[in-house]
């Protein structure tokens, strides 16, 4: 284990890369997910069809292939040498958007239709009803599922190591190969991911508790 100590900071720096990547993908994926969700429940058939097809596609193909596809096909077609992290963020946010859209759609549709009708009968506009009546009720269903999605995203982020981004996973592999200490280096990576996931879970549980006040 001693031989690994000088390499530990190198692995730890991967946390920043991973975090950067997960936060950026998480935010972009959330925005995509929200837009798609409203397309799905909205009254424009064309948008709805697009959102459904989008979701089917991104859920129906391997994430790792989507990532590799973005990384190699974008430069080939556009001539733009896409940075590794950017390729990762694009692929992961497009992918996560599909899942998030389903979470939000299901959450909104879990709210009794009568809620919306009561608001309509009271002459409350669509967006106001959505914001102040529907979403506050839907959030209880959305939040736990969303937390799950982010935990998945964090763990799956290790996949970007395949295109050579220097995240926790990749760095631990480099160290392992340099020192021939696979056990040590990979165990460090396991521990780091595990701690990060636990932190996220704890945070999620707290948030959920806060939101459950009104029941």
């Amino acid at each position: 284990m001693i031989d690994l100590i000088p390499s530990i900071p190198f692995i730890l720096k991967g946390i920043l890369v991973t975090l950067q990547f997960v936060v950026a993908s998480g935010i972009a994926g959330f925005i995509i997910g929200v837009l798609l969700a409203f397309a799905k429940i909205g009254k424009f058939p064309l948008l709805k069809r697009f959102a459904d097809a989008y979701t089917a596609f991104f859920r129906g193909t391997p994430l790792i292939l989507q990532l590799v596809y973005v990384y190699f096909v974008v430069p080939e077609v556009t001539g733009w040498e896409i940075p590794k992290l950017a390729a990762g963020i694009i692929a992961f946010s497009l992918n996560s958007g599909a899942y998030v859209s389903e979470i939000i759609r299901a959450g909104i549709q879990s709210v009794d239709k009568g809620q919306f009708e009561a608001a309509q009968a009271l002459n409350v506009s669509y967006w106001k009803s959505m914001r102040k009546i529907i979403l506050p009720q839907a959030i209880k269903h959305i939040l736990p599922a969303l937390m799950n999605e982010y935990i998945m995203l964090l763990k799956e982020s290790a996949v970007i190591s395949v295109i050579g981004a220097h995240d926790i996973m990749r760095r631990s592999q480099i160290v392992a190969a340099d020192t021939f200490n696979y056990f040590g280096a990979l165990t460090i990576a396991l521990i780091i991911y595990f701690i990060m996931v636990r932190i996220l879970e704890t945070f999620g549980a707290k948030l959920e508790k806060r939101l459950r006040y009104s029941d």
Partner: protein, 238 residues
């Protein structure tokens, strides 16, 4: 106050309302009666645009209901649902003040003053700060009525307001509705409460299979129903 002209409603191939024409005058209380599935709810929901008519027109207070006038028509009509549909995340008082504040820009203090007065009329002054899930069915429905009245509608639409209630709570809701009728409110009430229809309604609209089969006074309807369909319906429910 309400004119329904040749209203027809289809859900896909299913024709639910066929060529309904009727009028509700200011201050009238009309009870809509008919077997399950006869289109009573759909009829009511067409009046405030919760359902869009397939054919025909709805005119509320001289305003013809269209996409553009939807908000104007809804401003004049309140609706009470079988299952209340109170907003569970809002306290009773906020349920009542929500729409006036959000849609009419009424000041919070004024809205609350008005809400308290309305709670008093429905006999629930002490419930202003409770959440809906702590109320009984009858209390919920009375709050729902107060919530509708807070928008100061000229017409109230009721869709089986007592059907989801335990028997001992039916009366408290019907009493509030009677009081409302006596105050001169124009009301269209879909109901299975024959006693209420007989006592409070000025007119009965009997629907069967999406058509108006009889339209008459309660006395005539309950004592001398003209059609066989009304007769057999009454035999079953009375």
């Amino acid at each position: 106050m309400i004119n329904v002209n040749n209203l027809t409603k289809q859900f896909g191939d299913n024709q639910v309302l066929t060529d309904i024409t009727t009028e509700v005058k200011k201050g009238d209380v009309v009870a809509v009666i008919g077997p399950s599935g006869s289109g009573k709810s759909t009829f009511l929901r067409c009046i405030n645009g919760l359902e869009e008519a397939t054919k025909g027109e709805i005119i509320v207070d001289d305003i013809t209901l269209t996409e553009k006038t939807l908000a104007q028509v809804r401003e004049k009509t309140g609706m009470v649902f079988q299952h209340f549909h109170l907003f569970p995340h809002l306290k009773v008082i906020d349920n009542i003040t929500f729409a006036p504040i959000e849609t009419k820009g009424v000041k919070k203090a004024d809205a609350e003053k008005h809400a308290k007065k309305l709670l008093e009329t429905v006999g629930l002054s002490d419930k202003a700060n409770t959440y809906p899930n702590q109320l009984s069915g009858g209390q919920k429905q009375r709050v729902a009525i107060a919530r509708s009245l807070a928008m100061e509608p000229e017409i109230m639409l009721f869709d089986e307001p007592t059907s989801a209630l335990d028997p001992e709570m039916v009366k408290e809701v019907l009493d509030v509705m009677k009081q409302l009728a006596q105050s001169g409110m124009t009301m269209v009430v879909v109901t299975h409460e024959m006693g209420f229809a007989r006592e409070v309604a000025d007119r009965i609209l009997f629907l069967d299979e999406g058509a108006v089969v009889e339209e008459t006074t309660p006395h005539a309807f309950f004592h001398h129903p003209e059609t066989e369909r009304a007769q057999s319906f009454l035999e079953k429910v009375l």
